[in-house]
């Protein structure tokens, strides 16, 4: 373990700093709750507890880099903020495996004046900047690199606030944007200590120290842990804003988890507008409960808006996000993935028509449906096409049925299923019909963030977490943990949450590499290799290829 500038921020110190910061009057601050009231993350009104502190940092960063206009016209695949275009009811985009479909269920949509496509803040970005149709409403590193080359780094995508490793670095230099350019990672800055729904500090169960930080942002005097507005900076991929009905629907058929977290049987948070429980599947750390609150946080942080979007703007953003679907439509070798004789679960229309939030781990409902029709060559297929389709069938069978021992996954094996636990991909963590994330909402430490399982990532900050002796420990790492990203624990302040993140959907994968919340897998092959290593599965080379071919058509 290399130990460089080791800064430890004790909760009490941070609390004092945070309280001092709170004295600064800002538009989003709210009165503290009554003494003794429980402090839990979540949102009040449109705004989650961490947003006021985040907004202060976002407002403090001047976007000084020169910005260009009209770059969108030079690149028809790129949706530039403020462009006036029409998004068709069904569009498809080339990706490395074939073509991806993006479906607007409500029909063609004009971007003119639509808040999803309009810059809402100082840096010229819009929601669409990081949720590009050509990438299944996510953003691939290939697209990012192309924009860098096309605009010489002047696209608002590379804004200092989070499109660089740290706003204090010289903007416009490639090295300052290395995590975005190499791994597709944006800086997520979260207040320390964490904030409850009402904006008041949560007393965390652990201290956090910076072991090393090549980004410099966690040790930065203005933006770091010891700044006047203490922040932890972690680096994460944007999740695709498509197929959201599957992400926002509470789970069916798994009582009591339409109201409870699986792992500790505490209540799920609620939608601050409706008072209904929410599934918390939208974000890696679950810090925003709804599409609406997520849009507001994104506007205040990623877009550096100086004031909250209007209710009308938020309504329109959410309405758009609720009706858009993305999936692979054509595989370059296997051919069309939709139409007569195709597997019923493929293509964007199947997602539009599907029933959200059901388990896909029984013999009838396998997560992405049947692929049996491709098991044997059909008339009219080329040999290569038949071979690929059979490989996809084998990959599906591996995903559905190949059991392996799942062990020491924090916040997962300890949630009542046993450690170890033997399941397949589909009957374990990736079980939601049509989507492939974990249906019963819960966070887990797969090993992507925490040592010793994480891939070697010298490009990321490394934190040392020391939990209070009285805190419930992380189930398999205890009270002393090294992590690249404390994950959910940065929201709850809980030791057992360190490194845990929410599983994510497995649709439209081919066009949005790299994968995992921290971009650890540059390709689907690297993703399969990670699981093979992490769980000692022992996939044969052919099996790995079959799994990749299967994932590519989702």
């Amino acid at each position: 373990m290399t130990s460089t500038s080791r800064l430890r921020l004790w909760p009490t110190t941070a609390l004092i700093g945070a309280i001092a910061c709170l004295s600064a009057s800002i538009a989003l601050s709210r009165p503290a709750p009554p003494d003794g009231a429980p402090r839990r993350p979540g949102a009040v009104g449109d705004t989650a507890g961490q947003v006021p502190a985040q907004t202060r940092q976002a407002q403090a960063v001047a976007d000084t880099a020169p910005r260009g206009d009209g770059y969108g016209a030079a690149d028809p695949s790129w949706w530039a903020p403020g462009e006036q275009r029409t998004m068709p009811a069904m569009a498809d985009y080339a990706d490395p495996s074939g073509r991806m479909q993006v479906l607007n269920a409500d029909g063609p949509l004009a971007s003119k004046g639509h808040p999803f496509f309009t810059p809402l803040g100082a840096n010229g970005r819009a929601c669409v900047t990081c949720h590009q149709p050509e990438n299944g409403m996510g953003l691939s590193v290939a697209t990012i690199d192309r924009r860098w080359a096309e605009t010489q780094g002047k696209d608002p995508l590379f804004a200092a606030i989070d499109g660089s490793n740290c706003p204090s670095l010289p903007q416009g230099e490639r090295a300052s944007h290395a995590l975005l350019l190499d791994r597709g990672l944006f800086r997520i800055f979260l207040p320390w200590p964490p904030r409850a729904a009402d904006g008041t500090p949560i007393q965390p169960e652990f201290t956090i120290a910076v072991v090393s930080d090549p980004t410099t942002c966690n040790t930065d005097p203005t933006y770091g842990l010891h700044s006047a507005n203490p922040m932890v900076s972690v680096f994460r991929r944007p999740r695709p804003l498509a197929n959201t009905k599957y992400l926002t629907q509470l789970p069916h058929g798994v009582p009591p988890h339409e109201a409870f977290f699986y792992n500790d049987k505490s209540l799920l948070p609620k939608d601050p507008q409706t008072g209904q429980f929410v599934s918390l599947q939208l974000m890696a750390d679950g810090r925003e409960p709804t599409l609406r609150t997520q849009a507001l946080e994104a506007a205040m942080t990623h877009l550096q808006a100086s004031r909250k979007p209007t209710a009308r703007q938020l309504d329109r953003i959410v309405a758009f996000e609720r009706q858009i679907y993305a999936a692979q439509g054509v595989d370059g070798v296997a051919g069309a993935l939709t139409g007569n004789g195709a597997p019923p679960g493929l293509g964007a229309a199947s997602l539009r028509d599907g029933a959200p939030a059901w388990l896909g781990n029984n013999p009838v409902n396998k997560v992405f449906g049947s692929f049996a029709m491709w098991a044997k060559p059909a008339s009219g297929e080329s040999p290569a096409q038949s071979e690929r389709r059979q490989s996809i069938v084998r990959g599906a069978e591996l995903y559905y049925s190949r059991r392996f021992i799942i062990q020491d996954v924090g916040a997962y094996n300890d949630k009542g299923i046993g450690n170890p636990f033997k399941r397949s991909c589909a009957s374990g963590c990736h079980n939601t019909l049509m989507m492939g994330m974990d249906l019963a909402p819960g966070f887990m430490d797969l090993g992507l963030n925490n040592l010793p399982w994480s891939n070697n990532r010298p490009d990321l900050p490394l934190f040392e977490i020391t939990c209070s002796p009285t805190a419930r420990p992380q189930a398999y790492l205890g009270r002393h943990i090294y992590t690249h990203d404390p994950g959910r624990a940065l929201i709850t302040g809980k030791c057992f949450d360190v490194g845990a993140t929410m599983t994510q959907q497995l649709r439209a994968l081919a066009g949005r590499a790299p994968y995992f919340a921290n971009g650890s897998a540059r390709s689907l092959r690297e993703l399969v290799d990670f699981y093979d290593r992490r769980f000692n599965i022992g996939y044969a080379e052919q099996e790995k290829q079959d799994l990749v071919h299967f994932l590519e058509v989702l």
């Binding site: 109201a259 209540l267 059901w358 046993g418 033997k422």
Partner: protein
């Protein structure tokens, strides 16, 4: 020293002591052992204690054993079947929160050996085959949910009698079981429908082990359990004005697993007649 195979050691150990008779109370800490049951079935767990092998199968959900953690076994030996090759215990298992690296043993499956209810039965396999045949005939079925949401519970009818629920906890934890939380949701619906007053009383427990040691839960846990139950019950919709919360940090003297509990009582406003 000649090599001795673990199975031989186990056999020697198991012949060293006569099995306890049905009804014998047990209370001990031990490392769980994971027993693989074959490529198409899950694992089961057992513990070895005083020369006996005890099964840890079919526990309350939170008690599913975990390697790297000791398990507290409390209850009475019963004379039912012996899943996972061990005596079954009627009672509770608790996964201890602290890590114990010594608890790290997985036993490979022995071909041809049956390990009990965790193995996939022939009936289940046959039912699965029948369902698969339906999907083969109509692949679109594969993405249509075969299960349905449960029908809404009918409104309660008079007489509205008091109802009680005891939520039992694992050692040093405020995590209720899946079954208890389902029951709690139903209880809150009943309380709302009958305009009832709800009382919570939570305790922290203490267990005397067979070797004489006394295990006491952490101070403050009774209050923590009461607060969590209160948050759940009000979060499920009960008016906080209709709720009274109490706790007893005692701890209950060596009461074993029944002393780790939260009692919820629902007193309807009237009997509805």
């Amino acid at each position: 020293m000649p090599a001795v195979r673990p199975t031989a050691l186990l056999a020697m150990a198991l012949t060293a002591a006569a099995p306890p008779s049905a009804g014998t109370p047990v209370s001990f800490l031990a490392c769980p052992v994971a027993q693989d049951t074959g490529p198409d079935s899950d694992l089961c767990f057992f513990v070895e204690h005083d020369g006996q092998r005890y099964s840890l199968t079919n526990p309350v959900d939170y008690a599913s054993a975990q390697l790297h953690h000791q398990v507290l076994v409390e209850g009475r030996v019963n004379d039912g079947p012996a899943p996972c090759g061990g005596l079954s215990v009627e009672g509770r298992f608790s996964v201890m929160p602290e890590i114990d690296p010594a608890c790290d043993r997985i036993v490979p499956a022995t071909p041809g050996m049956a390990y009990g209810p965790n193995a996939v039965s022939a009936e289940r396999k046959a039912a699965a085959s029948a369902m698969l045949a339906r999907v083969e005939a109509d692949p679109a079925l594969s993405i249509r949910p075969i299960y349905k949401d449960a029908a809404p519970e009918p409104a309660p009818t008079p007489p509205f009698l008091p109802r009680n629920l005891a939520v039992y906890y694992p050692f040093d934890s405020d995590r209720g079981s899946l079954g208890d939380m389902i029951a709690l949701m139903a209880l809150v619906r009943y309380a709302q429908a009958t305009h009832a007053h709800v009382t919570i009383r939570a305790t922290r427990g203490q267990s005397r082990l067979d070797d004489g040691r006394l295990l006491s839960e952490a101070p403050g846990l009774a209050r923590q359990r009461a607060d969590k139950l209160r948050h759940i019950i009000t979060g499920l919709g009960l008016d906080p004005a209709r709720l009274t919360t109490d706790f007893d940090e005692g701890p209950a003297m060596a009461g074993g697993w029944p002393s780790r509990r939260g009692d919820i009582r629902v007193e309807p406003a009237n009997r509805g007649r």
